[in-house]
């Protein structure tokens, strides 16, 4: 009996001591008290994170884990633009000051809880705005806090419509990339413009990603001669889509809209359809249409046409080698971005363009406040950002669209192994 009585006391002592030590250590290390936190407005009416010669912005993206490639690029492109501009003297602001941009980035591994933690850390360190973060769930988790604390959460690198469809409900949040709805709509418009009866088979991921594509597509073909004659869905965890493709092939549709976001599955769709002797025109989403990883392994050359939406220049493509923007990008990226992102994904170019949009917003900012920044950011029209294709412009004034609300369709050219312009259906 004495055993059981005596034992717990000792444990209490030890656990208590360890816990207390640990907790105190945490407090000491952080050394932060509520009074010191950079939450409130500055004495001269300026928002946190901005002084006469500097402004600090932050981002949390996946820099490790499965989404590390695109995540790192969302940081690297922005870092490249900001680094080059800082070295060039700084950003000019609407209030007449020239400021250096301090850029802080953190890793959230695509985990919403970590993203919230990072956002809290960044605001605690006194950032002015949270810019360009990648990821739907991570940004969705941050959005209500950004609203509550009135911190700009802007130019997000995500195609989900949540962040762009209602500016009145989410005044502090803006999306940057074209939404998946926009991509789907662009497919539909191309078919409608052909002015002839076309039958379509759709294959979509069974979640918001797939639904957004179908919504945009349906919206565009409504009342036209274009008709969906077969449709199928799949789960991202499926290992093969052979049965769906077989079912769709039986319809013999002219066009296949393959809203598949998983690389190996998209390759499987392309190989399966041609093995069944079904050779429709194929529409692929922008994130699963890379020639090297999808089209070549999938034997896309066999199809009469493979289309995908595009809005940025590929800095590695010989077609743009002489382009000034691309040369400036390559130089800046080499200097300031390459140590953050080792391999290129389009996100590098996108986030570089984001830097230019940010510069526009700064230029229109008449007061050093977040309100003024948001107002300026939401009034950019017809801006031709570097690295965007000619004809794609940034317009942030719409309350239900993201910064880039148009895409161009491009068509796969098997001879060059890249994409070229589309001339009608």
């Amino acid at each position: 009996m004495t055993t059981r009585k005596a034992r717990p006391m000792r444990i209490t002592h030890r656990s208590g001591a360890v816990l207390a030590t640990a907790s105190i250590a945490v407090l000491l290390v952080t050394g932060c008290t509520r009074g010191e936190s950079a939450g409130g407005p500055g004495s001269d009416g300026a928002s946190p994170g901005i002084t006469d010669d500097s402004i600090s912005i932050g981002i949390s993206s996946p820099l490790s884990g499965p989404t590390a490639g695109p995540g790192s690029c969302t940081v690297a492109g922005l870092a490249a633009y900001i680094g080059a501009k800082n070295a060039d003297g700084g950003f000019e602001f609407g209030d007449g000051q020239t400021r250096q941009v301090e850029f802080t980035y953190l890793d959230d591994v695509y985990d919403p809880a970590r993203a919230v933690s990072n956002f809290r850390q960044l605001t605690n360190d006194g950032i002015f705005a949270y810019v360009g973060a990648l990821g739907t769930p991570t940004n969705a988790a941050v959005m209500p806090i950004a609203e509550e604390e009135e911190v700009p959460q802007v130019l997000l690198t995500t195609g989900a419509r949540t962040f762009s469809e209602d500016a009145d409900a989410h005044p502090w949040t803006t999306g940057f990339l074209p939404t998946y709805v926009t991509e789907g709509r662009s497919f539909g418009e191309l078919l409608v413009d052909a002015g002839q009866p076309i039958t379509v088979a759709t294959l979509a991921q069974n979640d918001d990603f797939g639904e957004s594509y179908l919504d945009g597509f349906n919206e565009a073909i409504d009342g036209s001669q274009v008709e969906i004659v077969a449709s199928a869905t799949y789960e991202p965890t499926d290992t093969t889509l052979d049965s769906q493709v077989t079912e769709l092939a039986a319809s013999g549709a002219d066009v296949l809209l393959s809203a598949v976001s998983v690389t190996p599955l998209q390759v499987g769709v392309l190989t399966k359809a041609q093995s069944l002797g079904w050779l429709p025109r194929v529409f692929l989403p922008s994130n699963t249409s890379t020639p090297g990883t999808i089209l070549e392994p999938g034997g896309a050359a066999a199809y009469p046409g493979v289309y995908t939406p595009s809005f940025s220049k590929n800095p590695n493509s010989p077609a743009f080698a002489e382009d000034e923007d691309v040369q400036a990008y390559n130089a800046a990226f080499e200097e300031y971005g390459s140590q953050i992102a080792a391999t290129y994904t389009p996100h590098c170019a996108w986030s570089y363009a984001e830097g230019a949009v940010l510069e526009q917003a700064f230029a229109g900012m008449e007061e050093p406040t977040r309100d003024s920044f948001m107002e300026s950011l939401r009034s950019i029209t017809d801006f031709q950002a570097p690295m965007l294709l000619d004809g794609i412009t940034v317009d942030t004034t719409s309350s239900d669209e993201s910064g880039i609300s148009t895409v161009q369709l491009v068509r796969y050219d098997a001879a060059t192994g890249g994409y070229g312009p589309v001339d009608g259906y």
């Binding site: 055993t3 059981r4 005596a6 034992r7 006391m9 000792r10 444990i11 209490t12 002592h13 030890r14 656990s15 208590g16 001591a17 360890v18 816990l19 207390a20 640990a22 907790s23 945490v26 407090l27 952080t30 008290t33 509520r34 010191e36 936190s37 939450g39 820099l63 490790s64 884990g65 790192s72 940081v75 980035y105 953190l106 890793d107 591994v109 695509y110 919403p112 809880a113 970590r114 919230v116 933690s117 990072n118 809290r120 850390q121 605001t123 605690n124 739907t136 769930p137 991570t138 969705a140 988790a141 959005m143 209500p144 069974n206 979640d207 918001d208 789960e235 991202p236 965890t237 140590q339």
Partner: protein, 367 residues
């Protein structure tokens, strides 16, 4: 020697011999506990929302880890599905909040539903052992994620659900982050006290004996099957409760909450903190929450690398986890005196006999 130190932390808590206790130690214990309580109460009042978020997260994952420790640390059964219960608890709470249920009902259901699911799974799974059992538990998050995406009426689909609740009542004068911290801390403290008593008592001893040897457990009248089901049920209950706390702190849940990687990270944190140890559970939660933050401060592009290096370093220096640090240091000091030096060899003459550690053996073991 290696065997001895390996098994010691697992069996020690339930089976340790009497200790001489001076009034001084009692006083120190009292003061330690008091200091801890003061720190827990005062900390959020002087800290920024960021610190409070970290402290609250530690509470959340401490409870999730405690559940994992009950089933893995104390009972020795592999569970790689704890994130599924965390996610389920969060979703149940979110559903309750959206439907306008009273908070206590959400709290109860967020624990009861995962516990029921855990028990049903365990009723089948506990007949298996080793890798087969691990496979079944892996299936939970792997099935859970697409399920959460598909049942978007309940879960909000892959975009997840923002749930705003647990705002600080006006009368308290607290900010939301402070109020939420207190709520999760109260839950965590209550849970820790209950589980601590559980594992020190009769149930804890049956966990330990099942972990050591199921045949011996049977011969002692302890049903290994029932014990394992009980451990799994408690683990999933605590996982669900942690899900409630998670939602209270993060205010958002999505299929990412229950991904398999979270389960693996929880297992790693449990091992790092110290298997079958209450203190180790808390240390594991500190590790789970703080190491990524610190790694991010060092280099944001290399968080995974730094976390991995810390993990290896801890396991290399302290194979029994952070909780074994005082014992290791104490052991080093004591080993210098000849009396203590011979002691460890005596109770464990060879590592071959699957002996259930008797109280006496386990205690000398650790001296």
């Amino acid at each position: 020697m290696a065997t001895a130190s390996g098994t010691a932390p697992a069996t020690a808590p339930a089976t340790t011999a009497p200790r001489r206790r001076s009034p001084l130690v009692r006083l120190a214990a009292l003061l330690g506990g008091l200091a801890l309580a003061v720190v827990l109460v005062v900390a959020p009042l002087v800290s920024s929302p960021f610190i409070n978020y970290q402290l609250s997260s530690i509470m959340v994952f401490a409870v999730a880890l405690l559940g994992l420790n009950v089933v893995m640390g104390y009972t020795g059964q592999v569970s790689l599905g704890q994130s599924a219960f965390l996610g389920l608890g969060a979703y149940v709470t979110a559903y309750g909040v959206v439907q306008g249920w009273p908070l206590w009902l959400s709290l109860v259901l967020s624990a009861a539903l995962p516990a029921t699911v855990g028990m049903l799974v365990a009723l089948a799974a506990a007949r298996l052992r080793g890798l087969a059992l691990a496979m079944i538990t892996i299936a939970l998050p792997i099935v859970g994620v697409p399920l959460a995406r598909r049942l978007d009426e309940f879960t909000g689909g892959s975009q997840g659900q923002v749930v705003s609740f647990l705002r600080a009542p006006e009368t308290t004068g607290l900010a939301n982050d402070q109020w939420r911290y207190y709520v999760v801390t109260v839950i965590a403290v209550v849970v820790f006290v209950l589980v601590r008593n559980l594992v020190r008592g009769r149930v804890g001893r049956s966990f330990a004996v099942v972990k050591e040897n199921e045949a011996v457990a049977l011969s002692m009248g302890v049903s290994p099957y029932r014990t394992k089901v009980l451990a799994f049920t408690i683990a999933s209950l605590l996982g669900g409760l942690a899900g409630f706390m998670y939602l209270a702190v993060v205010q958002y849940t999505s299929p990412e909450t229950l991904v398999f990687a979270t389960s693996i990270n929880l297992v790693a944190a449990m091992v790092i903190g110290g298997s079958a140890s209450i203190v180790g559970t808390v240390l594991g939660a500190l590790y789970y929450v703080l190491v990524p933050v610190v790694a991010g401060q060092v280099s944001s592009s290399r968080t995974a690398l730094i976390s991995g290096a810390v993990l290896l370093a801890v396991l290399f220096v302290l194979p029994a986890g952070l909780a074994s640090l005082p014992r290791r240091v104490g052991g080093r000091l004591r080993r210098r005196t000849p009396a203590a030096e011979g002691a460890p060899a005596t109770p464990d003459p060879d590592g071959t006999a699957p002996a259930v550690p008797t109280p006496a053996a386990a205690s000398t073991d650790r001296r």
